[in-house]
């Protein structure tokens, strides 16, 4: 079966590389992990020799959560509009626009945010600017996911609710959201995971190198894991700093994977219930 060998041969890099990379990252980064590494915010001397990444961890989480909070109302609203009021034509248009938005590279959103939020609105380099930019980046994904979740609610439920004379808002609140919330929440968790991995758009619009442990207000900048790793990547000779960089990478990976796995567990658990629920 020569052909099978060819296929397996070609596929080998795809099978081996990802695992190898992951293993390498863990190998380099795990030694750096310790209680004080994760949960203190002390700064060492010199460039980047911070010995604790708590500030960065908090910053990343804050930005991601803020982005989700800003994006969710609009995402849900748009998805509900799509299901409830949009005509076929409007649905097509909306879907098209969302797909186009989704394809725009995040750095362009960063540029946009720089022009409008940082300079025009004078918000400066701040948590708010970063959160809005990230919200724009993850919004299409949230909307499309919410629409898909809503569409999975069986027609019979909607028909039954409407035949009972329930108002639109009741149909939504009591039937749709109650049924679709696992799917929607899954989407949000994935959105958080996505927001945690974006670096370029927040580099010059929301983050600084040091000086912030907990932002004083939404108008103050933050430090994040992603940008911290970026700064440290420019270090080449100080072994301790390189160690910190790998450690931060492992932590970031862990957090992102954590949210992704949570989303997966959620969708697995509730998909079965939903399927069983349909007679």
């Amino acid at each position: 079966m020569l052909n099978k060998f060819i296929i397996v041969g070609l596929a080998l890099p795809a099978l081996l590389l990802p695992g190898a990379c992951l293993a390498y990252i863990l190998f380099k980064g795990l030694p750096a992990l310790s209680w004080s590494f994760l949960f203190s915010a002390t700064e060492g001397t010199g460039f980047g020799a911070t010995s604790g990444i708590l500030a960065q961890l908090l910053g990343s989480l804050l930005l991601a959560l803020a982005a989700i909070l800003l994006a969710t109302p609009f995402a849900l609203g748009t998805a509900l509009y799509y299901r409830l009021y949009a005509s076929k034509r409007q649905q097509g248009l909306l879907a098209g626009l969302l797909n186009m938005l989704q394809s725009i590279p995040p750095i362009v959103f960063g540029l946009f945010g720089l022009i409008v939020f940082v300079h025009l609105l004078q918000w400066g380099v701040s948590l708010l600017s970063g959160a809005v930019i990230l919200a724009m980046v993850i919004m299409p994904m949230l909307v499309l996911n919410s629409i898909a979740s809503l569409e999975r609610v069986p027609e019979q439920y909607t028909e039954a609710a409407q035949s009972l004379g329930l108002h639109h808002s009741a149909v939504i609140g009591r039937v749709w959201l109650v049924q679709a919330w696992p799917g929607i929440l899954t989407g949000q968790l994935l959105g958080i995971a996505r927001a945690l991995s974006e670096t370029a758009p927040i580099l010059f619009t929301a983050t600084v190198f040091s000086g912030v442990v907990w932002p004083e207000s939404i108008f103050s900048p933050v430090t994040t894991l992603q940008t911290h790793i970026f700064y440290l990547a420019q270090e080449g000779s100080n072994q301790q700093v390189i160690q910190v960089a790998w450690g931060s990478a492992v932590v970031l990976l862990g957090v992102v994977a954590g949210f992704a796995l949570l989303a997966r567990c959620l969708s697995n658990r509730y998909e079965k219930t939903q399927r069983l629920g349909v007679e």
């Binding site: 001397t45 959560l65 803020a66 300079h119 929440l185 190198f209 000086g211 207000s217 700064y231």
Partner: protein, 275 residues
């Protein structure tokens, strides 16, 4: 229900920091000046616990642009303002020198150990213009020269280009790669066995060595004395750009840097005090 709980909890988590900003000092700019400011900030925060003092890099260009746009209170620049910048910032910003520094012409350890310990300004210029391509032509090993240039807006580059190439805006046609911060450049030189680059002398270490600059018998190393007595040609003042409307706390931070304790920190980090 659980969904709503999640939303409420996140809301609280995010809204907690929504107290309006008090006094904040935002500093950004040159990566050469950054270690001084970062170190001083650590000490300064102990004296003023409630203060919010953030530090960021990006290069002298970022420092100038940011203070021009009012994004920060203090800009860091490892060079003097250009004439166009002075015009634009006239009356809005003043320049305060807090340290002195030499721009070392750094080579990889392997090159230094092989005998290239001194280069004249003309030779360096020829390397950066692409006229000399192999270390052999300079008495070194038979390897091509990895010419490391910096982003055009970096202060270190301005100073280097002015002295070596004649103008701060001069192009380096022989450049192989372009790096950004001092760190990146240091890493690139350290990881190679044939590189040459421009670095603030505080970044020199065992793997990154400075060559003496000048003609064969009067070449000068970038040491503290040679900067102090002016013999080393490629040197500069490290400046802070302060907005005229700066708050009290910003000005006191600068006073701290210029005080004896501050200047002690400057020397600790590896630079020369301003006086």
């Amino acid at each position: 229900m659980r969904h709503r709980l999640f939303i409420i909890l996140s809301f609280l988590f995010v809204l907690v920091p929504t107290v309006l900003a008090t006094d904040q000092v935002r500093v950004a700019g040159s990566t050469t000046v950054l270690p001084i400011v970062a170190e001083a900030a650590k000490h300064y925060r102990k004296l003023h616990p409630g203060l919010s003092l953030t530090v960021s890099g990006g290069g002298s260009g970022v420092g100038v642009a940011s203070i021009d746009q009012g994004l920060i209170e203090i800009g860091m620049a490892s060079r003097d303002l250009t004439t166009t910048e002075k015009q634009r910032l006239q009356g809005k910003v003043r320049q305060v020198a807090i340290a002195r520094d030499a721009v070392a012409v750094a080579v990889s350890k392997a090159v230094f150990d092989a005998g290239v310990t001194q280069l004249s300004l003309a030779q360096i210029a020829a390397i950066y213009r692409g006229e000399i391509k192999n270390w052999q032509q300079l008495g070194g090993p038979d390897r091509r020269i990895l010419v490391i240039d910096k982003e055009a807006s970096r202060g270190t580059r301005h100073v280097f280009a002015k002295v070596v190439l004649g103008s701060e805006r001069a192009r380096a046609a022989g450049a192989t790669i372009i790096t950004g911060s001092n760190n990146e450049e240091q890493a690139a030189i350290a990881n190679s066995d044939k590189a040459i680059g421009m670095l603030s002398h505080a970044w020199l270490n065992d793997a990154v060595r400075a060559v003496a600059v000048g003609e064969a018998n009067e070449a000068v190393l970038p040491t503290f004395e040679n900067v102090a007595n002016g013999r080393y040609p490629i040197q500069r003042q490290l400046n802070l750009l302060v907005s005229e409307k700066s708050s009290e706390i910003g000005n006191t931070f600068i006073d701290f840097l210029l005080s004896s304790k501050g200047q002690q920190l400057v020397q600790q980090v590896g630079y020369l005090p301003v006086r």
